[in-house]
Structures are given as C-alpha cells and as structure tokens.
Amino acid sequence: MSTLRALARAQALAAGVAQPVATVRHLHLSPRPLVLVPLAMAGEANAPLAMLVGAAPDETRLLIVPQPRNRDQRFAFAAELAAVLLPYLDGHRGATEAVAVDRGRDVRHRYVDAPQLLVPNPAGITFLRLLGRATRFRRTDGEHPVHPSVPLLGRWLTFFAERAEHPGSSALVAMTDALTLHWATGQSAVEDLHLPALLGWIDPPAGHTGAEAAALAEDPARCPPAGPATDPEFDNRWLAPAIAAYAAAEADPAARAAAYAELERLLRDQLAPTWELMWRGVGLLRALPPGARVEGRWAGDRDAFTGYAEHLDAGGGPQPRRDGAVAAAQRLHRLERALTSCAVQRAYDDPLVMAEHRLAGEAFVGEVTLADPKRVDDSGKRPVLRPRIQLVTTEPVLVPVGAVLYSPTRPAQKARVVFVTPAADGKTEVVLELSGGMGRGLAAAPGSVPEAGERLCYTTLSEAFLPPATFPTAEETPRCPSRRPPTTPRPQLRS
C-alpha cells in the first residue's frame, strides 16, 4: 500500500465516496466481454450450482444444476457452458494481422481481437480454474464419457485462469480487482472483495453515502453475495427445500418441471443483482479513457489467445496438473517480467500512478531552465551528440549522480544525472545529459531535446526491453528427489 493510495482511502472515508487512484483506464475492455457470474454448492469441491453468462446486459443465459452432487449433471452443466463459451471464443477467430518477429526476418499472425471474460471477484477466477481442472482431463470415451466439448472447455478455462495470473493481462478479469485498480474506497481491502459494497462506495445511490450503501450491501437478505459462495441462510431456508422438492418429484414429469422452474427462479434471484452490478462496473470502467500502453498489453493477450488456439488446432493436449521444474521456473520468470513492465507502463501512462513513485523518490517533476541541445561530446574516438538540460524541482531528488533516468514523454531517451545541486527556497537543480531518441547525426531532431520552460517528469523506471533469461531444457535438468511422477502428487500444504 503506497502512502498515496492510503491517503486516497482516508479521503474517501471523509468524502463518503470512493476517490480515484488512476486518471486513465489500465485495462482493455472488450466491446462484448463475456460476463460470468458463478455460484457453487457449499461444502462440495467446486460443484457448480448455477451461472449467469452472456456478452451483453440483455443477453443472459441462466445455467443451473438441479442436483449439484450428481456428477452427470455437473458435466451436463459443463457442456452447456461450453455451448456458450466456445462459440464466443470462435467469434474472435476472424481476421489476423501480421507481426514481425526475429527483427523483421520472419512474420507471424495473430487475431486482431480476442475474447475477454469478466467475473465478479478473485474467487470467481478460482472457480473457473477449478472447473477447468475438473473438466480438461475428462475423456469422451470409456467408462464415464463426457460430451466432446467438455475437455475443450476445461482447456480453455485453464488457459484463462493461467492468463489471469499474468500481470497486466485483461483476458480474465475479476471486477473487484479492476475497480480497486482505479478507485480507493473508505473501507479495507478485505471489504473491497465484496462487489456490492465496493460499488456502493464508488457509485452510491442518490441520497446515500458510500459507507451507508456499503453497509446496506452487506446484508445478504437485501443484497445476495456475488458468489461463488452462497448465503448460508439462502441455502438452508430456500435452496435445500427446493432441491429436495426436485429430487422428490422424480416420478412425476409435471411436478418435476414445476420444481425445476422454482429452482431456476430462486437461483436467478440470487444472481440477477450481481449481473446488474457487473455491467454497472463495466460502464464505470468504460467511462475512463484507456491508457496509452493498454493496447500493447492487450496485444500480448491476443498473442496468447492465438497461440493457444493454434495449440488446440494442432491437437495439443491439456495443461499438466503441475508444471515441471523448468516450465515452472520459466513461468515465474515470465510473470516477474510482466509485473515489472506493467508497473512501469502504468506509471508512464498515468500521472497519478507516477505520483506514487515520485513520493517514493523514484521520480521527480521539474521545469527545464536551461537547455544546450547542440552540445557534442568529442572526448571519445567519434564525436557524439550529448545535449544537456537543467531542471529545477521543488521535490526531493534522491537519485545519485551517474544514475540513468527516463521521461515518459520521451521514453527512448536516456538522461544521465550529471549534477544535483541544492538551490534557494529548498529547490534542487538537476543537470541531465541526454542520449538517444534524437535521430542520426550531430544535430538533434526538432522537438527531441526538451526546451526551457517545459515541465517534465524524470524517473528511474525504465521501459527498456527486459531480455528473457535462458533456461535449460527438461532433458538437461537433473532429476531431483522432489520430482515425482505426476500420478502421485504429494500434498504440500502450507498454513
């Protein structure tokens, strides 16, 4: 928690309404995201109970499982969900674009659009991950055959769940995460996980403060939980009798249809409020202008989608239960790189995020007072263009002489700190020597060197490409005792 965000929470509490912590939208929003609101049966291992799903507010499909403990019904639910999800995914496999790879020596293609899944909260992502795990290894032949779409659904859900761990990805997003990335409420992070309360703070109904709206949203009788866990009171009072009535009506088709309709009604009532909230959240996020680098990160999602679609087209198998040693290390490395680069990109895109880094001494904003755009350094073998500028800032400058800084307005240009001098009134003068991003030759391209009077941010955060590390192949990795055959996973529980 940065002090800036913490202060925003305090301000939200005093103002009675959530406060912005971003000035631009930091995630991609599809024009037709597929919203999924799942409910699970209490006590069971991720047994689906119901789901509302659809790509527009008025396109709801309600899927229910009248007896969640019945495994055939569970897989029938999976097949129904596949009948919604798979066509939605296929709808994004239209036009492709060519992308140069290997420094332009080769070209590959990726889809110009990709699917986007939205769920209410991180527990919704866990639900999809486990549903993917429960279905991706299922066989379409043998003793307990499932519909051919079921293992395919499982592979795609697993793909999305893994993508959701990738920092900066918008492929599968929890609405509470998306909203708290942009707004700070006057409640704690634990309470922010409750979508109705979170939206109560961000967009309170007329005549209510955020705190009042959140308090109302906490009453499960007034506002059902956003799932996948159900309200125990609802389970005991309504759901259990309705499931029992459905089971008891086995022999009587008319009574069975009535019991099914009653279950549908009950479950729809539990899900519909969350469905509305999901689309309100989408609306709030859409109202923000997208950050400049969001499209670039979405291209990464499109790459991943294209790659996985090709993997499945080529008859690729399901994701393993567990990564091997090398795959796990590679994945961790990929996630770390994505985390670093996403944090830098967000700061470059958004002055309010950069302000967090300014407060932490990783960036400062100053006014250019002097500029020498023609300065040439001829001390080396060849003369090189090395303009210098002087900035005056009121902020503390914690970077040492010799450090290399970057400015979000000229990300390709390096600025080496030459002098840091305290000046009058607590101000600081900083002299920077610039290299790169000025065109070829010994004269800087117009506008490439900051001019006196410009107000600029300089930061230690670098957008420069982080080269991926190399890892040994699986064959080169020694077998260690902890590598067990995948058929006997050993529980490793942490408390």
Partner: protein, 365 residues
C-alpha cells in the same frame, strides 16, 4: 469461587458461561491484543447474542450442505473400522501400517465418564515396545483449561503407536486438488488441530508421561481432487502451538485483564442495548478488518472504529505513518494541524502525498 470468577459471573449476568470448543479457542488467537475480546471470551459471554442485542448481529451462518458433506465424509472414512484410515495415516508418516490395528470408539453419552475413559485408554496406549500394533481412538474427549474453566474437546481421531508417537488426525471435507488446498481453510484446520495437540499433551503430562510423545505434526485427511477418495497430509503446528499457549496464558491471568475493566462493566444480555453498548466502549478493543471473519462482535467494533486508520487495514495505517485517526491524517495532510514532534516525518509525507494527488488530479492543492 474466587473474586475473579465472581466478577466474571457478574459480567455475564449470572447465566452459565458459554462453552468453548476447539473452533472458538482457535479463534482466540486471531487478535491476541484485543482486551475486549479477551474479557468477553474469558467470562464466557454469549457473544453472538450480545452482538444481536446491541444491533450488530454477526454473520456466521453455516450452510446445511456443508454440514451434511462434512459428516458424510467422516462417516465414509470411519465406516470400515479405520482400516483405510490407518493405511493412509501410516503411509503419510512413512511407516508400515502393520497387519492389524486396535480401533476404540470413545464416543458415549456421559461426559465425565467419557473423559475418564479417554484419559485411561490414551495413557495406556503410550508405546512400550516396538512390536505393539497401532491403535486408533475415535472421538476421544480431552480437556483444556481456558480462563480458569475446563473446556471439553473432541478431536476426530487420535492415532497412537505409529512412528512411535501419538498423532492427532483431523478430518476435513474441503478438497485437496493437485496437492493444494484453500490456504485459509488449511490455516483454520492447523490452529484447531493445535488445540487438540495441546490438550493431548496436557493429558499425558498429567499422567506422568512425556508430552513430546504427541507429535507436532498433525495428519489432515481431506477428499482428494473432485472425488471422495481421501488423501492425508502432514501439517506442522509448532507455530500455532506457540501462539495458542501465549493466548491461553494471557487468559489464565484474567485478574490482570480485569484490573483494566471498570467496576460496573456488564455484558448481561438482559440489560438495555444502550447500556450494553456504553459498557462495551469502556473496554478497549483492537479492531482490524480480519476480525470480521473471526469475532462475533466485529461489526460493533468496526462501527466504533470507523474513523480509525486501522479500520482501513493495518497496511493503510502504516502507510499513513501510523497516525491513528482519519481526521488527523487529513488535517496533517492539508497542514491545518501542527504535527506533534514525533509526527513530523509522517506529516511531511502526508503533505507531499496530498500535494501530488491534487496536482495529478488537477485539483487545487
């Protein structure tokens, strides 16, 4: 009856103390710094009723589906007289299960009788030689002193004479999928099992045996993946034992806690809600958002703490330089308030943060 006990009885309003169980004892470790909680739990006040009476009802309902599932899984495991359980536990401990095992069901109606039998049978099960068969004890009844009162505890199973020691076996119905389980549920199971380990160690000590005969490794048996097949895992509960012992020691010194409580403090459920709320506010609480998941009184304490920075979460409070209340934070941030000498650093940070936020949002600083 000691004077402390009399005072605790008076605080409850004369009604019998509410019984603790492993779950409530485990919950005690959640917020050990909270005096209000220690006093109310020490006195055995019915906190759910108290919370309801003062208009802040707790929300700790349990779905009947979850209860049914838990009972069904346990019954399934014990159905064959423990053969499969023994195999699972022995395999997890890395010892041969042997060709036979003693299965003793200690469940009975009479509490005192059950406790006496449990004590005798468990003490007699201390391994004497290497060739004795393993023994499993179903539903033994153990005792533990909490705030000067005896609390009865019922572990799912105790395994003796496997790997030369006693092991507490806890059966839970949450799934272990590809070797991973919900971390919150595992943590709760660990602390709850630690309560049993502690009680079993006390039992052995009282019978003149080495308490270390009870392993700090608890065997957790859960359904594996999405089916009903059981899988056993080991949980090291040493850390939980330390925390638990510290909190129980603190509650045992209830006299010291009561010294900080006003003479007329009451949690008598027959008193007026306003009187109760006023009384509660005279005993210091230490609300944190985590309380919402662990303490029945949390909604009341949250309401009371609504302007405290700690109510926004400990990381928020720390990021705000430890300044205790939101109005103070904002006054320091705008410079309206002159900071105390020890707040100078926090105030400078808050002023800088407020200035940066205003600048980025295009607001007047």
């Amino acid at each position: 009856m000691t004077s402390s006990e009399q005072r605790l009885a008076a605080i409850r309003g004369g009604v019998p103390a509410r019984r603790h169980n492993a779950r409530t004892i485990a919950a005690l470790t959640g917020n050990p710094g909270c005096t209000r909680r220690a006093v109310l739990d020490g006195a055995g006040v019915d906190k759910p009723k108290l919370a309801e009476r003062i208009g802040f009802p707790a929300r700790f309902g349990q779905s009947r589906f979850a209860i049914t599932r838990g009972n069904a899984f346990e019954a399934q495991l014990k159905a064959d007289g423990g053969v499969e359980l023994l195999r699972l536990v022995a395999e997890r401990l890395g010892v041969p299960p042997g060709d036979r095992a003693d299965w003793t069901d200690l469940g009975a109606d009479d509490l005192a009788d059950r406790q006496r039998r449990s004590r005798e049978v468990l003490a007699a099960a201390v391994p004497a030689g290497p060739d004795e068969p393993a023994a499993l004890f179903d539903h033994p009844l153990l005792g533990l002193d909490v705030a000067g009162r005896r609390v009865y505890l019922e572990p799912d199973l105790v395994a003796a004479r496997l790997a030369g020691r006693f092991h507490v076996v806890e059966i839970k119905s949450f799934p272990v999928i590809d070797g991973q389980a919900d971390p919150g549920k595992v943590a709760a199971a660990a602390i709850q099992s630690a309560v049993y380990v502690l009680a079993l160690r006390e039992l052995l000590t009282a019978e003149g045996h080495d308490p270390e005969l009870v392993s700090h490794d608890v065997v957790l048996v859960c359904p594996r993946d999405f089916a009903n097949q059981p899988v056993a895992s080991l949980l090291d509960v040493r850390k939980q034992l330390l925390v638990l012992r510290r909190q129980l020691d603190r509650m045992a010194r209830i006299d010291a806690l009561l010294a900080a409580v006003p003479e007329d403090f009451t949690a008598d459920l027959t008193a007026e809600p306003a009187t109760l709320a006023a009384a509660l506010s005279t005993v210091e609480a230490r609300y944190a958002p985590d309380c919402l998941a662990a303490c029945e009184l949390a909604y009341f304490c949250r309401h009371e703490a609504r302007e405290q920075t700690a109510a926004l979460g400990r990381p928020v409070r720390e990021a705000l330089g430890g300044v205790p209340t939101v109005p103070e934070v904002l006054a320091l941030a705008t410079g309206e308030r002159t900071p105390e000498p020890e707040q100078a650093e926090a105030a400078a940070l808050l002023r800088a943060a407020a200035r940066l936020r205003a600048e980025a949002l295009g607001l007047p600083a």
